[in-house]
């Protein structure tokens, strides 16, 4: 075997090794730790792009750990969807990390260790082909996220963190109950094999399997922060440090990814008795999440809180697309996913710059003194707001248009159109109100010395904005690739054939 054969495991192993290395470097100068962390994060990008290249023609790269044949051993599977998520994660992580170098990483210990382990968990969750292994990677990314969320400390952060940890521990328990039930009925944990076995479920086990599959959906909905399991998100994300909140923009997408991955295999159109299991649930829940997220954004009292509610709304939009389930809708959702991730992350980073620039007024929606470099920061806020609200000419608008077009053929058309358009308007109003409060309704600063945000703090925001613009510039090939991912998801038999090979 040459190195290229090991490509699917490299994005998992690299952050793990660097994370462990960074533990041993804990007393080394900060510059060395930062250098190692940035280099490792940067190196994820070519690896992820190589995987996109390798899976572009529809191949499933199956990596058998320990060379045990599936379904007896654990496999990693790289397909178009996994590669797409890896690229999104690598880009997001790089700019979140660069922002953290402005000082957030030295406010506590082990920031870079936790950051790398978080990437280890994320990449593993995207690549694994085994349900129990998915649970393990979930735990890894959650444990790292607990540390990152609490990094720096403070009363509000500890309080929000406690809720986040407890609810996720309950979620992990439910995950195990669901996995246990599925194993008890089918005798397998390999997701491809699970799809094959569940398609042949005898009628007497059907109720058991359905409850396990829906329990699993509940767990993924908790990670994705779907209504009514979103309550942990706004407080946790609004009170953590900006680079962590920006990185966590991908965390809710892990829940969305898991729903897409697991249910395309076990509840796809050809899945027998479980086919269409989520059809009655996903779209209404997603629409309610979208509406509630926007209501929260309208009612927010600070920019970070608003960004957190906009994240809830964005996951709502994404899940509407995944819930509709047609190839066009999935393509729309997959094209929208990187856009919304980058845009919300940019908003979190910018909110932090604004909070620093406004001194004691922080990011609260109150009339304060005009912040230094107000034109530059205000201009950035305008651009980020357009991206987050999904206005033309940026990719959010294209994604929503693709989503609305895909909804025409569905029975949910009226609800989807009404909710997506109304919440789009609400998003514009909410962001316009915050922009005018933060930048227009200002009064002279009497005796207050405000420090302007540095170029190093604004550059990652600008870079994320450039990515958002890049998504619209390359909209043709990228939406074409999203359609190819969707087509691959709609044909899970290729995934099963690739994983199970001759044993099927």
């Amino acid at each position: 075997m040459n190195l290229a054969d090991h490509l699917p495991i490299l994005p998992v192993v690299l952050p793990l090794l660097v994370g462990v290395l960074l533990i041993t470097l804990r007393n080394a100068p900060p510059a060395l730790q930062r250098g190692a962390s940035v280099t490792a994060t940067l190196a994820l990008l070519p690896l992820a792009l190589a995987l996109v290249q390798a899976t572009g023609d529809g191949t499933h790269l199956v990596y058998k750990l320990g060379n045990w044949e599936a379904p007896y051993g654990i496999v990693l599977v790289a397909d178009r969807l996994a590669a797409w998520m890896l690229v999104t994660t690598a880009l997001l992580a790089l700019f979140a990390l660069l922002y953290a170098l402005n000082g957030a990483d030295t406010r506590g210990r082990h920031f870079h260790v936790l950051f790398q382990l978080q990437l280890f968990g994320l990449n593993g969750a995207f690549l694994t082909g085994d349900l129990f292994n998915l649970f393990v990677f979930f735990e890894i990314l959650l444990l790292a996220s607990y540390g990152l969320l609490l990094h720096g400390g403070g009363r509000q952060r500890v309080k929000a963190g406690l809720h986040y940890v407890v609810i996720n521990l309950v979620g992990s328990t439910l995950f195990l109950f669901a996995v246990g039930t599925l194993y008890g009925v089918t005798g397998t944990l390999n997701m491809a094999d699970l799809g094959v076995k569940l398609a042949a479920t005898p009628p007497e086990n059907l109720a058991l399997v359905q409850s396990a599959a829906l329990l699993l959906f509940g767990v993924f909905a908790l990670k994705a922060a779907l209504l009514p399991l979103h309550l942990w998100l706004p407080a946790a994300y609004a009170h953590t440090s900006a680079p962590v909140a920006a990185l966590f923009a991908i965390m809710t997408k892990v829940g969305a990814y898991s729903i897409l991955r697991v249910y395309s295999l076990i509840a796809g159109e050809a899945a027998g008795p479980l086919a269409g299991l989520l059809d009655a649930w996903l779209v209404p829940v997603a629409l309610a999440t979208l509406a509630l997220g926007m209501a929260g954004a309208l009612a927010s009292t600070s920019l970070r809180q608003q960004a957190a509610y906009l994240m809830v709304a964005s996951i709502g939009t994404l899940m509407v697309a995944f819930g509709l389930g047609s190839t066009e809708a999935l393509a729309a959702g997959l094209y929208y996913l990187p856009h919304t991730t980058f845009a919300i992350a940019a908003l979190f980073l910018l909110a932090d710059s604004i909070a620093h620039g406004r001194g004691e007024w922080a990011d609260r929606f109150e009339s304060g003194p005009a912040m230094p470099r107000t034109h530059l920061v205000g201009g950035l806020f305008f651009a980020v707001a357009i991206a987050v609200a999904g206005m033309p000419p940026l990719a959010g608008f294209l994604g929503k248009v693709m989503l609305l077009q895909a909804a025409i053929a569905s029975p949910w058309m009226l609800w989807v159109w009404a909710t997506v358009l109304a919440t789009g308007l609400a998003g514009v109003i909410a962001l316009a109100r915050s922009g005018s409060l933060l930048f227009y309704r200002t009064h002279g600063a009497h005796g207050v010395i405000l420090t302007p945000p540095s170029n190093a703090a604004l550059a990652p925001t600008l870079a994320l904005l450039a990515l958002v613009v890049g998504l619209v510039v390359a909209a043709g090939p990228l939406s074409g690739h999203a359609a190819a991912i969707a087509a691959q998801l709609k044909a899970p038999q290729h995934y099963m054939d690739a994983v199970l090979g001759g044993t099927r």
Partner: protein, 114 residues
């Protein structure tokens, strides 16, 4: 024996859910621990109950028990042990930062006066 095990899992889960819904962090931690015990037991019996049979291939065995759930339980125990340790430290930290052990961090006296 199946009924007894099912009853044990049920009681552990019910106790765990009850405690996890309490307002103070210590009962919540206990509740999470009970829930993890329940789920570990549940995972273990998903390989079916068997007495006196080996999990690995042997020439004299008349039947086998499923080894995989035992491996899963070991993993789950390690993870839940680590998580419990973490949540205890976090609960202590919250007690120190918030001045009380309520999960929502009740208002402090001095805050209320101000």
């Amino acid at each position: 024996m199946e009924a007894l095990i099912a009853l044990v899992i049920g009681v552990l889960t019910a106790g765990g859910v009850f405690l996890a819904l309490r307002g103070q962090t210590f009962p919540v931690v206990l509740g999470l621990t009970l829930l993890s015990y329940a789920v570990n037991l549940f995972l273990f019996v998903m390989g079916r109950l068997a007495i006196g049979v080996p999990p690995v291939i042997s020439e004299t065995a008349s039947g086998y028990t499923d080894p995989l759930p035992q491996a899963l339980v070991l993993t789950a125990i390690v993870i839940s042990f680590g998580m419990t340790a973490f949540v205890i430290v976090l609960a202590l930290k919250a007690r120190a930062e918030l001045g009380n052990d309520h999960v929502d961090g009740l208002e402090r006296e001095e805050d209320r006066g101000a």
